[in-house]
Symmetry: C2
Subunit: 337 residues, 2 copies
Amino acid sequence: MPNPPTIKEIAKRLNLATSTVSRALHNHPRIGLKTRMQVQALARELQYEPNQTAIFFQQKKTFTLGIVLPELSEAFFSAAISGIEDTANKSNYMVLLGQSHDDTAREQKIVEIMKNHRVDGLLVSLAKNTVQYAHFEMLRKYNIPVVFFDRIPDMKDIHYVASNMESGTVQAVSLLLQQGHRVIGMINGPEKLIASRQRTTGYQKAMQQQRLKYDATLNIHSDLTKEGTRQAMQQLLSHKRKITAVVAFNDYVSQDAVQYAAERGIQINKDICFVSYANLPLSSYMAYPPLASVEQYPYLQGQKATEILLDLLSGKLAPDAYQQVIIDSRLVIAPKK
Amino acid sequence: MPNPPTIKEIAKRLNLATSTVSRALHNHPRIGLKTRMQVQALARELQYEPNQTAIFFQQKKTFTLGIVLPELSEAFFSAAISGIEDTANKSNYMVLLGQSHDDTAREQKIVEIMKNHRVDGLLVSLAKNTVQYAHFEMLRKYNIPVVFFDRIPDMKDIHYVASNMESGTVQAVSLLLQQGHRVIGMINGPEKLIASRQRTTGYQKAMQQQRLKYDATLNIHSDLTKEGTRQAMQQLLSHKRKITAVVAFNDYVSQDAVQYAAERGIQINKDICFVSYANLPLSSYMAYPPLASVEQYPYLQGQKATEILLDLLSGKLAPDAYQQVIIDSRLVIAPKK
DNA sequence: AAAATTTGCGCAACCGTTTGTCCAGCTGTT
DNA sequence: AACAGCTGGACAAACGGTTGCGCAAATTTT
């Protein structure tokens, strides 16, 4: 047999109408028991499998979720996608993948292609410097729901799941203060990122709680590249006040900062303590694991975002019942060595 | 406009046949310049986008590649998929994802679903304990080409890309021998895995080259779980000959082994040196990075496998011209601390 | 100027499935 | 016996696009 058996084939062999066969296979009550059995038997024998592309076309539904995210090789995203895929699969959805590589143009192209592929919905984590959202607005016209996660846009009326860095940051800074640190540097991300602002706010609140003054010059905004981090660290080290602790934007930044500091002869976790945000797995294996780390639950975020999207698709959730889920970040203190 | 514009819509407005519109949009030479321009102008105006699901159905082609792999959150695989996605995208293919979680049943189900989704081809890295390949054999009947990568099956007549652990292992063991180690333990993987056998062969060859005797009791096969690793390490530590170096199956195993050894009061990289295979990123940040690490080039493997699959699909490569690409692994020596 | 080609476009089938509607025959009611 | 109500299945349209073929008009060839 060169080409797979179709419903027509079955109909012809049994001298039935294709509609009858179709209904028989779906256990439609209007089809008599005898014919139903016949059809199903022959279907099994021929190893009939419905042609999904035909069904997709006919039903205008593909049971496919599009995922757009910056970089798969970042541990955070691969954990998130793991959660997405697991959740989607439970509802028999498949997952179509696209990496923006933090390039807005690529992001736009991927969204366009996914739209044409008629994905039923989209899960998106923005490219670092995406500031225009026309390619997402457009999807409304096509009734393709979008749920953003982690890197969410500054738009009204969207669904999203994100972790609030503020709570974790408050906890992190509080921990440091409690341990006696008074001059705490922060290597923060680009100012326009919401996550950066949350870190700043968290820092401020923690200080405020202890009636301490927030010093903005200790909060350095970097571009998160290795070079940027090194410059930020340099600034912190040459600050007129002597810093004894650093809150780094994430583990990658933290490790780069640690490296830079170590090169300058600084004793890690002695002269300067580091607190970070967990992006790396197995931080327990690291040479200088941060004192503590703010966990962002990427798998959970992916899972939750997918659940929302599926509910949107099944109609369990109205399209304009905008879901905005905040997953509180939480400080996890590293076990004492 | 509730539903997107179709080719029929354009035809009606312009009083043309749908066939003419279709051809005009494809710049078919038999369509006059004037009508062609009209059609294209209106298409732009209406923001016409072809309905891909209709095209997929009609053309029996989806421009979609299925990827089946064990675990996205393993760094090796997320790097590989990154290479796959990048390469596929260059040829305007999309990528459909499925994780087997090292469960053969799930692997089978995913392959089944992907077949029904009519992916044009499949890229597969096997689940740890998959030993029956019926679900892949079946794909031949449907003319869905498969390219395996990294974890490849023991089948005849398949396409695959894999790294040869032998060369890297020879280099690794040779390095240890050269440094004076004589009793070298190996924590190997399940015996049926090709990659395990390659490591064994590599070990043997390196010994042979120095006219040394290979001691099979130093080569422990484990199941790669943390517990299995600890048991293996225990065996090695209680070996009658005192080992001074260990070659671990991969970085995860290596780290577990290191941990176990450290608990037993062993001085890492002093009493016992470790050499491993690179699965983890940023090994330079690890507390006890292996002395050296065998690099397997996951991104490259993904890329190469995808190229083969695409060539198969485009007909550049005959389906029975079985491609079996071996990417030599290479020992990378860690920079001295 | 007649014949041969080329140009430009329409007609209709087709891909595989679902689903609304119609119809024939049987059963049962009065 | 006539009529209504079921039952079980057939018919055909529709989803949106592609493509082989046919045919008239325009153009070129001899």
